[in-house]
């Protein structure tokens, strides 16, 4: 009886390793986490100690570089290798959220709505949604915890939306809850993949 239980536990663990391998092949989350953390920290620094040039240029670089990194997969994908349905759904969730956040950032910057302070909260909520959807698609329970972390961050960011520390908190959240999970799945993937 214990053997049957052991076998089921073994199967579950191995399936999870496979999922981590599939997800861990992509360092995109790590790259986005670091780039956005830099962007938010630069924004905070610019508020505290003005640079003398527009923070918009730093945001342009910290958004354009990870987008180029993400798009490399589409540009360099070999013909005849379509994405599998699970990977396709994951890509749709993350790229959809990326387009939503990028267009909203451009619109908010253009209309000078950043000063209202809600943008950081929206970004955190969107990442919470992405991790929650990823947890369901990949059946990885720990990603739900990350999603909850993002939503708690969303509330905290809304509470301090008129203070410069909101950018600092966003930067920390990007490092801990985006780059952190990215690094974790990359290392787990590296353990199972060559």
């Amino acid at each position: 009886m214990t053997d049957a239980r052991d076998d089921i536990a073994f199967i579950r663990q191995t399936v999870e390793e496979g999922r981590n391998f599939a997800f861990g092949r992509s360092p995109d989350i790590l790259v986005w986490g670091i780039a956005l953390a830099i962007g938010f920290f630069a924004n905070y620094a610019a508020i505290m100690h003005p640079f003398g040039f527009s923070i918009g240029w730093i945001w342009l670089v910290t958004l354009a570089l990870p987008w180029l990194f993400t798009m490399r997969r589409t540009v360099f994908r070999k013909p005849g290798t379509p994405l599998r349905p699970g990977v396709h759904a994951m890509a749709a969730v993350w790229i959809g959220a990326g387009i939503f956040l990028t267009t909203l950032t451009i619109a908010a910057d253009w209309s000078d709505a950043f000063r209202e302070g809600w943008m950081n909260s929206v970004v955190a909520g969107a990442f919470g949604f992405c991790f929650f959807a990823s947890a369901a698609l990949l059946k990885l329970g720990w990603m739900r915890v990350v999603a909850v972390g993002w939503w708690l961050g969303e509330i905290a960011l809304f509470a301090i939306r008129h203070r410069p520390e909101a950018c600092l908190l966003s930067s920390v959240l990007m490092l801990v809850l985006l780059a952190g999970p990215g690094l974790y799945i990359l290392l787990r993937g590296a353990r199972t993949a060559p």
């Binding site: 089921i8 073994f10 496979g18 199972t192 060559p194």
Partner: protein
């Protein structure tokens, strides 16, 4: 006693090595040979023998591609393989149920 049918268990998946390959591929969608070998902690020889058996049974599909000039062998679980794994797990769960209720199988 339960009406558990021992003969219904898939003999191909009774090997831990083959079970590990099938379970890994169930999560990974598709993986190359060295990823399967490393994940299941097998030698090259063992991994290729077990993968061949699974391929012959139609549980695993293999395709080859070139990455630059380097050949790469990719494996994916077929629908037959996925169904076999789900059936195997279902059988194990039937085996566990009486124990959970304090019965003898």
């Amino acid at each position: 006693m339960t009406d558990f049918d021992h003969t219904a268990i898939d003999e191909l998946l009774q090997s831990r090595a083959r079970l590990a390959i099938v379970a890994f591929l169930a999560g990974a969608d598709e993986a190359d040979f060295s990823a399967v070998r490393d994940a299941t902690k097998m030698t090259d020889g063992n991994a290729s023998v077990h993968l061949r058996k699974l391929e012959d049974a139609g549980y695993v599909a293999m395709r080859k591609q070139f990455v630059g000039r380097k050949p790469q062998t990719l494996y994916a679980l077929t629908e037959t393989g996925r169904k076999a794994l789900l059936d195997y797990v279902a059988h194990l769960e039937i085996l566990i149920q009486p124990a959970a209720k304090g019965e003898r199988p």
